[in-house]
Amino acid sequence: MGEGGIVRSFRYWHEIVLLVLIGVVFAFAQMFEPRFLQLDVQRELSTHIWEIAILCLPMTLIIITAGIDLSVGGMMALCAVTLGMLFQRGLSPWVAATMGIGVATLCGVLNGLVVTRIRVHPLIVTLATMAAFRGAAEGLSLARPVSSFPEAFGWLGQGVWWGLPVPAWCFMGLLLLTASAVGLSRWGSYCYAVGMNPEACRFAAVPVNRVLLGLYAFSGFASGLAAVLFVARRNTAKADIGMGIELLVITAVVTGGVSIFGGRGNLLGMVLGVLLIHETREFVSWRWSRDELNFVVMGLLLILSVLLHRWLTPANRNTS
C-alpha cells in the first residue's frame, strides 16, 4: 500500500546506502593508506573501470526492462577481432574500429531480433549467443593476437585529455546521452513500463519490440566501444578480451540497486554501484595484495548491499 509519509515515499534509500559504503571505503583508505586517495593515483587506477562502466549503461536499461544481456563479452571479442583483422589487412585503425563497432552493433541487433520476434527469454538467447559470438571471434582469428597499433590509436585508451583519461570522457559522453534519453525523451518511460508490465504496454501502444531491439543494439554498440577502448589501452586485439566481464557488469548494476525483476533502478544508483565496486576492488588489492581476497569481498559486498537496502528501506516492497 503506497500511502505514508516522506520517509516512506523517499525513493533514494539505496543510493544513500551506497554512498555510506563508499564513504566507509574512503575512510579506511584515509586511515591506513592515505596515498591511495591521492588524485594522480585515483586517476590511474580509474583506467581499470571505464570499459565496465560503459557496458553498465545499456545493461542497466536492459535489466530495467526485465531482460539481461550475457553476451557483452562475446560481442567485445567479435569487435576486437574484426578491428584487429581489418587493421592487419592494412586498413586504418580508425576505420577498422568503426567497422568493429558496427559488427558488435549488428550482434546486438541479432540478440534483439531473437528476443522480440521469437520471444525466447533473453537469458537463454544471450547465453547461447555469448558462446556463439566468442566462438566466432576465436574461429575467425584462430585465437591469434593482433598488436602494434599506432601511437595515435593508443591515445584513445591510454591518453589523458583535460585531466581525465580519454575513456572517461567516452563514458561521460555516453552517460550524458543515455541519461537525457531516459530523463527527457519518452524512451525512458517506455523502458520502465516494459519492465513492469509488457502486456499493458502493448495495450498502451508502447512499441515494446522497438524499445527492446533498440536496447540490445545499444548494448552491442557499447560493447563495441568498450572493446575499441580496451584494444587501444592494452594495444592488443585478441579473442579472449572481456572473458567473464558480463558477471562483473551485472554485479555492478545490481549493486547499484537495479532490480533484476525489472522496472526499478536508475542510472545514478548504477554509477554509484560501479564506483563502490571499483573503489573496493582497488583498495583491497592495494592494501592486501591478495587477489583471492578480492573475490570473497566482491561476492559478499554484492549480497551485503542488497541486504542493507532491505533492512534500511522502511517500505517493505511486497509484490503480491
Binding site: L127, S141, T251, F295, M298, L302, L307
Partner: protein, 334 residues
C-alpha cells in the same frame, strides 16, 4: 468448445514432451557422428560419455528443482570448487587424513549447509536468488584459493579415487549415483507432496501462500537439496582425476543452467520435467565429443565454442517452431 480442447490437448502434449524433441536432436547427432566415425557408438565411448555427463546430471537435478520454484542457483560452479578443495584437504594423507566415508559425509553435509545459507538469504533475507548465488559464486571462488593456498592436492587416497574411477557390476559409480539421483528427483517431483509444492510455488507464489504451503521452507529446502547434490557430484567427479586444483568446477554454473533450460524447464518456474533435463544434459555433453569425432581439421577447434552456442540457440528455436506449429495459432488450422 470442441476446437478449443482439441488444440489445447496438443499444447499439453508438447509442453510435456520437450524431451522428445531433444531426443530427436540427440538421435540425429549420434547418427551423423557414427556415420563419420563408427567408433562413436563403441561401448567404451558411450561409457565415457555417461561418466562425463554424470556429475552435470546430478547437479542439474538440484538446480532444476530450484528453477522450478522460480528462483535460480548459479553458485554451483564455485561451490563445486570449494567442496572439491575441502574434500582434498580432508582426505589427503599430507593434510588432515580423515577416513573417506567420514569425509564424504562431511562434504555432503557441507554442500547442504552452503545451499541452506543461499536458501536462508533468499527465503528469509528476501534477497533475489540471482544476486545471492552470484555473490556466492564469486565468494566461493576466492575461498577455494584460501583453502588450497596455491598448492594442489596430489595424493588422494585410493579409497577416494575408487569413488571417481571405480565401478560396481560394470556400472561406473558416478553413473550409478546419477541414475539414483535422477530416479529419486523424478519420484520426488511427481510422486510426493513436496514435489507438487515445488511446482505450486513456482507456478503462483501468492496462490501457494493462500493454499497454506510454507513457501519459504520449500525454497530453503530446494536450495539445500541443490547444495547437497553439488556435494554428491563432487564426491563422484573430483576423484576421477588424480589431482585436485583450484580451477575445479569453473564455468559449470552456466553449463548446468543451460542444460536445465534447454531441457524445457521454464526460467519463470512451474514447468519442466527431469526427463527433459537429462536428455538436454546428454546432448550438451555430447556436442564437444562429437566435434572431435567429426575430425573437422585443426581450425575447427577454434570454432567449437561457436558451434556449441549455435546448438543451444538451435535447440531453443526448434522447440519454439515445433510449438508454434502444433498450436496452430490462427492460420493453417481451421
Amino acid at each position: 468448445m470442441d476446437r478449443f480442447s482439441k488444440s489445447s490437448r496438443w499444447i499439453a502434449l508438447m509442453g510435456r514432451n520437450r524431451a522428445y524433441g531433444i531426443f530427436g536432436l540427440i538421435t540425429l547427432t549420434v547418427m551423423v557422428a557414427t556415420a563419420v566415425s563408427p567408433s562413436f557408438l563403441a561401448p567404451a565411448n558411450v561409457n565415457d560419455l555417461l561418466v562425463q555427463a554424470a556429475p552435470i546430471v546430478i547437479m542439474a537435478c538440484g538446480v532444476m528443482v530450484v528453477i522450478l520454484t522460480a528462483e535460480i542457483d548459479i553458485s554451483v560452479g564455485s561451490m563445486m570448487g570449494i567442496l572439491a578443495a575441502t574434500l582434498g584437504v580432508l582426505t589427503s594423507p599430507r593434510h588432515l587424513d580423515w577416513p573417506v566415508p567420514l569425509a564424504a559425509l562431511a562434504i555432503m553435509g557441507l554442500g547442504a549447509g552452503m545451499g541452506a545459507v543461499n536458501g536462508v538469504l533468499v527465503a528469509f533475507g528476501k534477497v533475489p536468488s540471482i544476486i545471492v548465488t552470484l555473490g556466492m559464486l564469486t565468494a566461493f571462488k576466492g575461498g577455494t584459493e584460501f583453502i588450497l593456498e596455491g598448492g594442489w592436492i596430489t595424493d588422494l587416497p585410493e579409497g577416494l579415487r575408487f569413488l571417481g574411477t571405480g565401478s560396481i557390476l560394470s556400472i561406473p559409480i558416478s553413473v550409478g549415483v546419477a541414475l539414483v539421483v535422477v530416479g529419486f528427483t523424478g519420484w520426488l517431483l511427481s510422486r510426493t507432496s513436496f514435489g507438487r509444492r515445488v511446482y505450486a510455488v513456482g507456478s503462483n507464489q501468492t496462490a501457494a501462500l493462500y493454499a497454506g504451503i510454507p513457501v519459504r521452507w520449500v525454497k530453503l529446502l530446494t536450495f539445500t537439496w541443490s547444495g547437497f547434490l553439488v556435494g554428491v557430484a563432487v564426491l563422484v567427479s573430483a576423484p576421477q582425476l588424480s589431482v585436485i586444483d583450484s580451477g575445479f568446477g569453473t564455468g559449470y554454473e552456466l553449463l548446468v543452467v543451460t542444460c536445465v533450460v534447454v531441457g524445457g524447464v521454464a526460467i519463470s518456474g512451474g514447468v519442466g520435467t527431469v526427463a527433459g533435463v537429462v536428455m538436454a544434459t546428454l546432448l550438451m555433453t555430447m556436442i564437444s565429443t562429437v566435434l572431435i569425432f567429426l575430425k573437422l581439421g585443426e581450425n575447427a577447434t577454434y570454432w567449437s565454442r561457436s558451434i556449441q552456442g549455435c546448438f543451444i540457440l538451435g535447440a531453443v528455436l526448434l522447440d519454439h517452431w515445433l510449438r508454434s506449429q502444433k498450436r496452430g495459432w490462427g492460420r493453417g488450422e481451421s
